[in-house]
């Protein structure tokens, strides 16, 4: 038994991919589309996306649709797109941490990215001398350059050959020792030799000069690198000193389109520079307003160029989010620019990248908060509009030494553009907590997210949003089933809606027209409960009730088939031609409808093994007369597949045993995503709330590929519906679930609908509406499912500032959120600056919501809010903090000394200056909670020498991390009273957790320390710490011995206390071994053991041990700053670990990551992967071609279907 790994292994899965964009570019990547129909190629974390803007003809409905998405298992750093002359499509370039550059094409057939070229130029990893940080491509598509922060630059020349293939040259290096690159861009030279511009600083002199004079005299150079296409090399062709504060450059159109050259964006001003033209300079306008600092200088943080038929302009965004339109006036005849004009355009969220599409849309991939798509209504071309917001470079000296006269503009709301799409994003995701406040069967995820006044408190549920159209009460009768029927099979819309109540033995018939109203005089039976109803044949309406089958022919004649004596009909199912009945005597009765609309009964009535509980016949396949199979479920926990073709009627084909009594069956044909053929699925709902899906073999009728999912505590009932023009299944248990093929991944997805419990559901199609109708809690509800693309639905409550921490009231569904914003004017200061007129104040507040909070260096704005996300869905109380304090953490504490009354403790910092290394102080505020926790009242404040980053309730008292120590405090009348103190960690406690007497402290840079509290002696004794410096951001105890944590570099790890140390720490009394144990290497006596380690490329901000679905196993849920939500599933069996590690290994070699990164190296970026299997990689198996799948399956000694099932089930069993 050599292959025994004694420790627990985890399966890592991403539930929600990060939404924070890294880079974006506009491109024409999809063949066959118009040139103006551009797409957006975007990188987020380790994934690349291709989005397309889809609009209706009248521009009423605009959608941003994700066409393709691919996980590249590498840190994507930059993207570019360019068109090689003579080709029809753009090449997509991705620079990543792989030390390689890849050229990609979009492959419309497989709906994925196809690698065209992969060129290696350096070591992998993010290193300062390996190119990849900067990526610039020639506007004429002849070459592209990659640059590193220091020294190295590499240029690739691309070409096409006569067959249309893409050729790439060997790398041309342009290295400069000891020079730092601040920015690069491509200079548009028309069809002359391509030039790349770079902002560089040489540090040789500053480095060697002890006096510091050389550093003070350092210079920033604008350098041109010319790519000589004839000689095939790169030379430094020109360089000149520019303003030292320059941080960004943009290439100005050249050749026949403009003057060429670059825009150099510096602090407070923008220059135009070129080797052949005179320089120009313009000041970046500053905001005016009562709360604005007049002296604050702005920088450009993002921008884009728009070029069209001889004209061009830039959109440049400042750090406040204000976007300016920069235009240039060019001397006729020459290409000498005479003047630059800046015009205030709009204010958008601060972007990582602004992307302008030729269709007239502006995509803002926001640094924080939702990515937005704006429709451009006006390009602000008329100079007479807002002359006060238009500025010219006339008379501004282009010498950086000369002081510049600042200009001021008036920010306002949106004027030239309108918001078209607000695509929901979740970055920055500050904290999450999984909790069940509403008593639903699955818990919700509560999250704080965003920055500044765009922050929100989010309640996230797994499920699809429904849009309720009508909900009307049905009165006293408890209806339990409904059917919508067409009048004729050729009709487009439904005409009748039948609702049946078994309890009242009654059926109500409604007519569907312009209105839905009760039909009094119909031919349907209303004094019986209906078992099933169906429009059959050409125009026959069939209603099955317990005592017989009632059919209404087209001419109005009524046929009645009475059930045999002493027998009733318990179950029935029909399609257009066939009707199958289950009788109370366990017999089946089968009917076939002829062309005359009359039902003909089959004489043979076979008896089943048990009482029939459910049955289903499949929908008649298109172009055929009859369906092949019916499925019958009996109370002996079996289902049988019967043939119902006329030549072999009711012949049993196969039997499947189940774990419980089947309550509902549906036979639905769906497209199988892998083979793209129609496959007949039988969906099975069980008494126990389980839902199963199996495939019926077309030829033999055997059942196979069974997938199981627990839906809820109630028996599952199934309804075949059509959503988004595809046949789907609605499974109703304690909540409704929709089963459909996902439009993007085309995988079968089962997602709950975010609505109440549904009794029964059916399609509802009238002239105006095409949606669903259902019976829900005594109401008839007509609703639609607007989108089946997302998997999460959320509701939000707006917050005031960047949220830092949240805590829940243990008794009421109320959350408390500590919020603080750095370099922001506090509410009190702002109020004193604002004018006293209420109307102006109101205006300013409204504008602030759009343009963001007023900035002020060194100031902090902070508040604490109580939020009721369930009943009021609003903020119930706000307490602003003053004195430049910033709330950093909060926790609800029940004090034993106050008879376990609950208080809110908030840890703050005063005069914080993060990044400067200056020491600041802090406070702990205690708030009394009033009115069911919805209001807060300050009790007192206790000062501390350090900012407080962590506090928690500990055995009826409050444990606080103060600097490197942990204190235990009790509540006093005027202050907190110190009860115990223990030196815990080397630097700064940033997180705390506990179980029993054991306290875990996370240090800001040196991992975790376990402490034990000895109540008798009132001592805190550290006994285990770690061997690796982990810059802990968050951690949680998985069990008494084990902790899971995340660090700032994006690792997730699980550490465990050695058995010996754990035992010793729990020995009675302080005289025991543990206090006398000698410190080991200057730390605690013992060291933690590493159990698992995994690189995630996102900073974990919250970790929690929880379950996510009803009846699911417990797992480790984590959420990251960039919006990732992921899980670690503990493996239950050794065989699974072996299987998945084998699969992972196969996938690494057979389907290597797209950007050229080695998967194992990537997941072990800082520390080798340990005890974790990458589920995201395993799920890539589902997207492979069939050949690849088979090849891997053969290597693993399994069938393709089996691997697919295992991979899918791993996720669906415990999560979504």
């Amino acid at each position: 038994m050599a292959n025994i790994q004694s420790t627990q292994a985890f399966y890592s899965l991403t539930l929600e991919a990060p939404s924070a964009p890294t880079a974006a570019v506009i491109c024409n990547a999809i063949p066959g589309l118009k040139a103006s129909d551009q797409q957006i190629f975007e990188a987020r974390g380790q994934r690349i996306y291709l989005h397309r803007i889809i609009e209706e003809n009248d521009r009423t409905v605009i959608k941003l649709q994700t066409i393709a998405e691919q996980d590249v298992f590498g840190i994507v750093r930059g993207v570019a797109a360019f068109r090689i002359p003579g080709t029809t499509m753009d090449q997509l370039v991705v620079s990543s941490d792989s030390g390689r550059v890849v050229l990609l094409n979009y492959d419309p057939e497989r709906n994925s990215f196809k690698k065209v070229h992969q060129e290696t130029f350096g070591k992998s990893g993010i290193r300062r001398t390996v190119p990849g940080q900067y990526l610039a491509s020639d506007p004429r598509g002849r070459c592209f350059m990659l640059a590193s922060t220091e020294k190295n630059k590499v240029v690739y020349i691309v070409n096409r050959n006569s067959e249309g293939g893409i050729l790439i040259s060997s790398p041309h290096e342009a290295n400069q020792w000891a020079s730092l690159t601040f920015a690069t861009c491509a200079v548009d030279t028309g069809w002359e030799h391509p030039i790349f511009a770079a902002l560089e600083v040489d540090y040789t002199d500053s480095d060697s000069d002890p006096s510091g004079d050389a550093y003070a005299a350092r210079e920033k150079q604008l350098v041109y690198y010319t790519v000589d296409l004839g000689l095939n090399h790169v030379v430094k062709s020109w360089s000149d000193t520019v303003d030292y504060t320059a941080n960004m450059i943009f290439g100005v159109p050249g050749g026949s389109d403009g003057p060429s050259g670059v825009l150099v964006c510096c602090e407070d001003r923008i220059y135009y520079r070129h080797d052949k033209n005179n320089p120009l300079c313009i000041a970046i306008p500053r905001r005016t307003g009562p709360t604005e600092d007049k002296e604050r200088k702005r920088q450009i943080v993002a921008g884009c160029l728009h070029k069209a038929r001889g004209t061009f302009f830039f959109l440049l965004q400042t750090e406040d989010g204000d976007v300016f339109k920069l235009t240039m006036e060019i001397q006729e005849g020459t290409s000498q620019p005479l003047e630059m004009t800046l015009k205030y355009y709009e204010t958008y969220p601060v972007a990582r990248q602004i992307v302008l599409s030729k269709k007239g849309y502006l995509y803002v991939s926001a640094e924080n908060g939702n990515n937005k798509l704006y429709h451009i209504d006006d390009l602000a071309e008329r100079p007479e509009v807002e002359p006060h917001n238009t500025f010219s470079s006339d008379g501004v000296s282009s010498d950086p030494q000369e002081p510049i006269t600042p200009t001021y503009f008036q920010p306002r709301g949106l004027k030239y553009t309108t918001l078209a799409v607000d695509s929901p994003s979740s970055h920055p995701l500050m904290r999450t907590k999984v909790d069940n406040l509403t008593g639903e069967d699955a818990p919700q995820i509560y999250a704080i997210q965003g920055t500044g006044n765009k922050s929100v408190f989010k309640t996230i549920r797994h499920g699809l949003d429904v849009q309720e159209v009508i909900s009307s009460s049905l009165g006293q009768i408890p209806y339990d089933n409904l059917w919508s029927l067409k009048h004729r099979s050729s009709d487009e819309t439904h005409s009748y809606l039948l609702m049946s109540s078994t309890y009242a033995d009654k059926t109500t018939i409604l007519s569907i027209g312009d209105e839905v109203e009760t039909l009094e005089d119909s031919s349907f039976l209303s004094n019986r409960a209906t078992v099933t109803a169906q429009q059959m044949g050409h125009a026959t309406l069939v209603q099955v009730h317990a005592r017989g089958v009632h059919s209404i022919l087209e001419n109005g004649a009524i046929n009645e088939w009475p059930s045999p004596s002493h027998r009733t009909i318990v179950a029935a199912s029909a399609n257009e031609r066939q009707l199958l009945l289950g009788l109370s005597s366990s017999e089946l009765a089968f009917f076939f409808m002829g062309d005359d609309g009359v039902l003909n009964q089959l004489e043979d009535m076979p008896e089943m093994s048990g009482k029939v509980t459910a049955l289903a016949v499949g929908r008649t396949p298109r172009g055929q007369q009859q369906a092949k199979y019916a499925v019958v479920g009996c109370d002996d926990c079996t289902i049988r597949v019967l043939s119902i073709e006329l030549d072999s009627p009711l012949e049993a084909r196969s039997v499947q045993a189940l774990s419980a009594v089947p309550t509902s069956l549906e036979v639905v044909e769906m497209i199988d995503p892998s083979s793209k053929t129609t496959v007949t699925y039988v969906h099975i709902g069980l008494q126990s709330g389980l839902y199963l899906r199996a495939v019926i073999d077309e030829v033999t009728g055997e059942l196979g590929e069974v997938r199981t999912k627990f839906l809820g505590a109630k028996p599952t009932r199934l309804f075949s519906v059509s959503v988004n023009e595809q046949d789907s299944v609605l499974a109703c248990s304690s909540r409704p679930w929709l089963g459909y093929n996902h439009p993007q991944t085309s995988l079968y997805t089962l997602a709950p609908l975010v609505t109440g419990q549904l009794e029964a559901a059916s399609n509802f199609k009238s002239d105006e509406l095409d949606c669903l109708c259902a019976i829900s809690d005594g109401n008839l509800m007509i609703f639609s499912v607007p989108s089946i693309e997302g998997r999460l639905s959320s509701s939000t409550v707006d917050l005031k500032y960047t949220p830092r921490s949240m805590s829940r009231n243990p008794w009421f569904p109320v959350w408390y959120v500590a919020q603080a914003d750095g370099n922001t004017l506090s509410e009190a200061t702002k109020q004193s600056l604002l004018s006293s007129k209420p109307s102006e104040r109101e205006e300013a507040t409204e504008l602030e919501q759009h343009i963001g909070l007023s900035r002020a260096t060194g100031h902090w704005a902070s508040c604490i809010q109580a939020i009721d996300p369930i009943t009021k869905q609003a903020v119930t109380a706000t307490i602003e903090l003053g004195d430049n304090e910033a709330a950093l953490c909060c926790s609800v504490v029940a004090f034993e000394s106050k008879d376990w009354e609950v208080y809110l403790a908030v840890g703050t910092g005063q005069h914080l200056t993060p990044g400067s290394g200056k020491q600041s102080s802090g406070f702990v505020h205690i708030y009394k909670l009033l009115e069911d926790g919805q209001q807060m009242e300050l009790l007192h404040k206790t000062p501390f020498d350090f900012p407080i980053y962590a506090l928690m309730a500990f055995q009826g008292r409050l444990a606080i991390g103060v600097g490197a120590d942990v204190f235990i405090y009790d509540l006093g009348l005027k202050k907190l009273l110190r009860k115990a103190r223990g030196a815990a960690v080397p630097n700064q406690v940033v997180s705390l957790d506990h179980q029993g007497h054991r306290i875990i402290c996370g240090d800001v840079s040196e991992s975790l320390t376990y402490l034990v509290y000895k109540p008798k002696h009132n001592r805190l004794i550290p006994f285990v710490d770690d061997t690796i410096q982990r810059w802990t951001t968050s951690m949680t105890m998985l069990d008494y011995e084990t902790c899971a944590g995340g660090d700032k570099f994006g690792n997730l790890w699980v550490v465990r206390c050695p058995e010996q140390a754990s035992k010793e720490s729990d020995e009675d009394g302080v005289g025991g071994y543990i206090v006398n144990e000698r410190s080991y290497l200057g730390g605690a006596p013992y060291r933690l053991e590493l159990r698992s380690h995994f690189f995630t490329n996102d900073i974990p901000m919250s970790l929690q041990r929880t379950n996510l679905v009803a009846g699911g196993q417990e797992l480790l849920f984590w959420s990251g700053l960039q919006g990732t939500m992921g899980i670690f599933i503990p493996f239950l069996s050794r065989e699974d670990v072996d299987f998945f590690s084998q699969l992972e290994q196969q996938l690494r070699t057979e389907a290597p990551p797209l950007a050229g990164r080695d998967h194992l190296m990537y997941r072990g970026y800082y520390v080798p992967v340990k005890g974790v299997i990458d589920g995201d990689l395993c799920e890539q198996f589902l997207n492979l071609t069939y050949d690849k799948k088979q090849q891997i399956a053969a290597e693993c000694d399994r069938s393709v279907k089996e691997i697919e099932r295992k991979v899918v089930e791993m996720r669906t069993r415990v999560a979504f």
Binding site: I75, R127, T149, V201, Y203, P210, G212, T802, G822
Partner: protein, 84 residues
């Protein structure tokens, strides 16, 4: 002797190729500057880390990135004066 010469040549080529390759007389200042430059470069390359810092400092990422870049010029202050 030839071996020694070759080792010397190899070391020199390494030093030319890879910034930060040390030598027998590497000073504390050289070493710490090199480490600090590596770190500042890494902060810019790892987007989540830059994002984390930008939220903490209340500044846009591009500004934080430019600051990191600027710090790389002289990360640990001027070199100490060499005593003759």
């Amino acid at each position: 002797m030839a071996d020694k010469l070759r080792t010397q040549q190899q070391l020199e080529s390494m030093q030319n190729k890879f910034i930060g390759t040390g030598h027998a007389d590497t000073t504390r200042h050289e070493w710490t500057s090199n480490i600090a430059r590596d770190s500042y470069s890494s902060y810019q390359g790892h987007v989540p880390l830059l994002h984390y810092m930008s939220i903490g400092m209340g500044m846009p990422m591009e500004k934080v990135r430019a600051q990191c870049m600027e710090k790389m010029v002289l990360p640990v202050g001027p070199a100490p004066a060499v005593e003759e």
